[in-house]
């Protein structure tokens, strides 16, 4: 039994009186792919933002590898370097080319030299199949290409775990395939991933575990087979049946 790469213990998050997360505990093993599903407003995205401390939890603790990242005095910027994040809306830096988007973190955060950073950035773009688009600006790329650049940008930081927040929800249906293919490749290369997604085909094929959230708590979790074929909770069954249609 290896030690977990990520461990959440009773994580709460409130905005004023609004309680979004009401005590989530979750353990993720290295190389594991966890797909997080649940109705909108169930707290999936909030949970991802708690994990990389963009919106730190109001209560509860999180460990990344051996470090408690919710402890006071932790350098949050350093923690975020180890956690890649991919957003629904891509959020590519609009004033930079695809190459520039991948390079800037390498230069500013990892303090690499320009030509070193350029080589690595090109390598990451190749990994997502976009080396030929290196000098394009985000506005000149399709949605699927933008999202793949965003994945390359995150990979450039050499993350130990990747978070995907509905990575294909803003895409036209015919473009989701190329993004999912890149994610599947990452998974097969052994990247630890937490994916918020409604792509049930992807969940079935790639996920090691599916976690169903509702109302700010984890209702049920299990392997794709368990979750799709014999979910224990009626709500899980209803949700998965709905989404499969």
């Amino acid at each position: 039994m290896t030690s977990p790469i990520l461990r959440l213990e009773d994580v709460h998050k409130s905005y004023g009186a609004l309680q979004v997360l009401k005590g989530v505990s979750l353990t993720v093993q290295p190389r594991e792919v966890v797909v997080l599903v649940g109705p909108s407003g169930s707290g999936k995205s909030t949970l991802l933002r708690c994990i990389n401390l963009l919106n730190p939890p109001t209560k509860g603790r999180i460990w990344l590898e051996d470090q408690e990242i919710t402890a006071p005095g932790v350098n949050q910027d350093r923690v975020r370097q180890r956690i890649g994040m991919v957003f629904q809306e891509f959020n590519l830096f609009t004033h930079l080319t695809a190459l520039g988007n991948v390079m800037i973190g390498l230069v500013k955060v990892r303090k690499m030299r320009k030509n070193e950073a350029r080589d690595l950035a090109m390598f990451e773009l190749e990994r997502v199949g976009l080396a030929d688009r290196a000098n394009y600006y985000p506005a000149q790329l399709s949605g699927g290409q933008k999202q793949r650049v965003a994945i390359a940008r995150a990979l450039g930081m050499d993350p130990h775990i990747m978070l995907f927040d509905e990575p294909t929800s803003a895409l036209d249906p015919e473009l989701t395939g190329e993004v999912l293919a890149v994610m599947q490749k990452l998974a097969s290369e052994g990247m630890t991933m937490i994916v918020v997604s409604h792509e049930m085909g992807f969940a079935r094929q790639v996920a090691d575990r599916i976690v169903f959230m509702e109302g700010g708590v984890v209702v049920e979790e299990g392997t794709p087979q368990q979750m799709f074929e014999q979910p224990r909770h009626e709500r899980t069954r209803a949700f998965l049946r709905n989404i499969a249609q």
């Binding site: 963009l54 910027d77 985000p138 000149q140």
Partner: protein, 216 residues
Amino acid sequence: MELLQNLLTTFNFIVQGLWVTISVTAVALTVGLAIGLVMAVARVYGHPALQMAVSAYSVVVRAVPVIVIIFILFFVISRYVNLSPFWAGALALGFASGAYQTEIFRGALQAVQPGQMIAARAIGMSRLQAIQSIVLPQALRLALPAWGNEATLVLKDSTLVFAVGVPEILRRAQQVSARTFEPFLAFGVALLLYLALTLITTQALQWLERRYRLQV
């Protein structure tokens, strides 16, 4: 023939103020740019107390006529600090322009998509790094059209330093006019010089806008 001779003499005298006008404007715009950028970042990203202080500066300075600020620097401050009329005038204009530029850059910073800051933080940038490398470069591009407008306004406001005796275009025009009793010729030359300066400025800024346009 005599008219042409007059025109040439008038022009030669007034055009010596061209460089002064350009210098006053350049100093004012640069000082205003520095003030505007720092203040706007403080206004948008600073501690609430800092935000209040910046708002106060911006409101007060914009409420005071620029000429009054010039007089304060020239007649009051220069009693304690050695300020030539040129520097009193140029700094006063810069101080005033700083308030307007603060508002220009504040608007531009707020117009940058929030996702840009979030994505920058997500790859491990500190807040300051994200502002420097991601948000500001985009905000500067967004600010260019409004900033170009401010540049032409400061160019024209530079005539105000005439009140403390700086020999710029307008003051020289007035001197010629008083001597030759041909105000039309004198102020006509001044007008043409300002027109030329404004055209050059706007053309240069439009080129910058095209060069650095954000693709959206």
